[in-house]
Symmetry: C2
Subunit: 338 residues, 2 copies
């Protein structure tokens, strides 16, 4: 038998109300002697309050849901850890949910989290449609939700993201500064807001430099290594490209493979810029120049915003937070000679 507040009360010769009071540190109105007595018995019996019963009344579970596409994508472990660490500091636990970016599963998990009565949700969604239904599901019970990395620009929810347009701009500028003008671009899925914003940055840099935009240099892929590989092969075969900007590191890895197959040397024949600064990408030869995202921090901030919403209860104004991107210079880019 698990031991309950009743057992403590009985053994201490007090009411369960009193026990409840000492448990919850209600300082007012508790005799010092009884408090000590109760505490001693709690200790002795190693009693832990049943959080479920407590939740029933308080409507609080000290639990949040973290919904992401796939923890195996090396972008996410850092982020998850940032969230979990902050949650842990607040005595919260986190449910981890993998959707694979499937709209159906995304919505299912949101509903599931609601059923589990989480106090809040942190969500990286993939499908643009999701957000509409999301509003409906979430708003009815007014459960705090923070959007992560994607779709934060709508301002319908709070959100945290890197400043993607600026990042795209910086990366492209770097390549332009190295005399490249034929810059291939491997984007993420066309409907991802982060991919769109990065592309805007790319185009802005180009137009500032007075270089006309060539649609044929742009190819959308899937943020996966193999997608990057395929796109690079296509890109490199049909155009005289001297540089490629891949919208994430995974796809940049694919570019490396394609280049190797085509007998091109990086950075001599081809400059490459990635995005994310995934750990261990410095294992590549040559090391990848890339845009840094402080992913751990992103997780932390999203959790911080979520907890603000949770504690302030409901009708806080949405916050959108943009992290500053920075370019990590390594060895995969080079000034174009000829």
């Amino acid at each position: 038998m698990t031991i309950t507040i009743k057992d403590i009360a009985r053994k201490a010769n007090v009411s369960i109300t009193t026990v409840s009071r000492v448990i919850n540190q209600k300082s007012e109105g508790i005799g010092e002697s009884t408090r000590k007595k109760v505490l001693a018995i709690i200790e002795e019996l190693d009693y832990r309050p049943n959080t479920i019963a407590r939740s029933m009344i308080t409507k609080q579970t000290n639990t949040i849901g973290l919904i992401i596409p796939d923890i195996r994508n090396p972008f996410f472990p850092e982020l998850v850890r940032g969230v979990e660490d902050l949650a842990n500091q607040h005595a919260y636990n986190v449910f981890l949910c993998n959707t694979d970016g499937d709209p159906k599963r995304e919505l299912e998990y949101v509903s599931l989290m609601k059923e589990k009565n989480v106090d809040g949700i942190i969500f990286t969604y993939s499908c643009a449609d999701t957000i509409h239904q999301l509003e409906e599901i979430v708003k009815e019970r007014n459960i705090p939700l923070v959007l992560l990395d994607r779709g934060v620009d709508d301002q319908k929810f709070s959100g945290v993201s890197i400043h993607n347009e600026k990042a795209g701009y910086i990366a492209t500028k770097h390549l332009l500064g190295h005399a490249h003008t034929k810059i291939g671009c491997i984007t993420g899925p066309a409907h991802y807001s982060n991919s769109k914003a990065r592309l805007n940055g790319y185009m802005k840099a180009l137009s500032e430099a007075g270089i006309s935009f060539d649609q044929e240099l742009i190819l959308a892929a899937d943020y996966q290594m193999d997608g990057g590989y395929q796109a690079a092969k296509t890109l490199l075969s049909k155009k005289a490209i001297t540089a490629i900007f891949a919208f994430n590191d995974l796809m940049a890895f694919g570019v490396y493979q394609a280049a190797a197959e085509l007998g091109m040397t990086i950075p001599d024949d081809l400059s490459v810029v990635g995005f994310d600064n995934i750990k261990y990408n410095q294992l590549l030869t040559p090391k990848l120049t890339t845009i840094e995202q402080s992913v751990y921090e992103m997780g932390e901030i999203s959790a911080k915003i979520l907890f603000e919403q949770i504690t302030q209860g409901g009708d806080v104004k949405n916050k959108t937070w943009y992290l500053e991107p920075s370019l990590i210079l390594r060895e995969s880019t080079k000034i174009l000679e000829n």
Copy 2:
């Protein structure tokens, strides 16, 4: 206001018992007409039962705890995904907990999970002491627990792990087969059971080959990249080593770095075998020969065992499951010439 079973009952003109029955698919004793009526109203009001209230009675939360050292260690995402996928199939959610291998946090999380009334725990612990206190904490309430990757040999709990000794044996055998006799060994922390077992395999292969064991060729590190780097530097400076067996890929990456710094070429001057077959380690040049662990599968199996224990309720016999290791031949090992 959130809508409850009462609302449904009232609107359907039935008792809450009846509603409860149709929710829980108790087929017996429900009139087809009432069932339909109730179902319609549930649909109409988009009613979801409160899982918390349900848990209070059933003592089941459909939730498991997954306690690991650090999701950022590339070994774990695969594993976590394996667990989560299987959990999801069973309509379970998983709490993710990162301990950093800190004994205090390990125990804290176990207690926390107990307080959250999880139906079971999957646990990768680091500290050998942990397991004793673990028994006490867990056994009292008889909560199903499956050990992962480490410490499974004690048979005090169910567990899943690769057959580490065999793996160590295979890796060493491979190197011996390539005429290497001075084989350096970078192990994990000395008290980790998986590291010990791998070392046993190493020694077994050596002794079978009639090669005397040299303690100086063995160096313990921390399963981290930098630890591998440091160990390799020490190892390579003091002995004429022609091959290194690193007990995980991360440390093997460190070996690559050390070799590069010392002007050694892999595999010409040094053969390297890793362990884990982490994704993207094929990005290395040359690609790393390593021991494959089916980590995703490991996660799945652990969850499978856990669910068996959960459904069979308590006093099932502990199961220990060993996965077969296999050697992935790539480019980092070479027959020793001279």
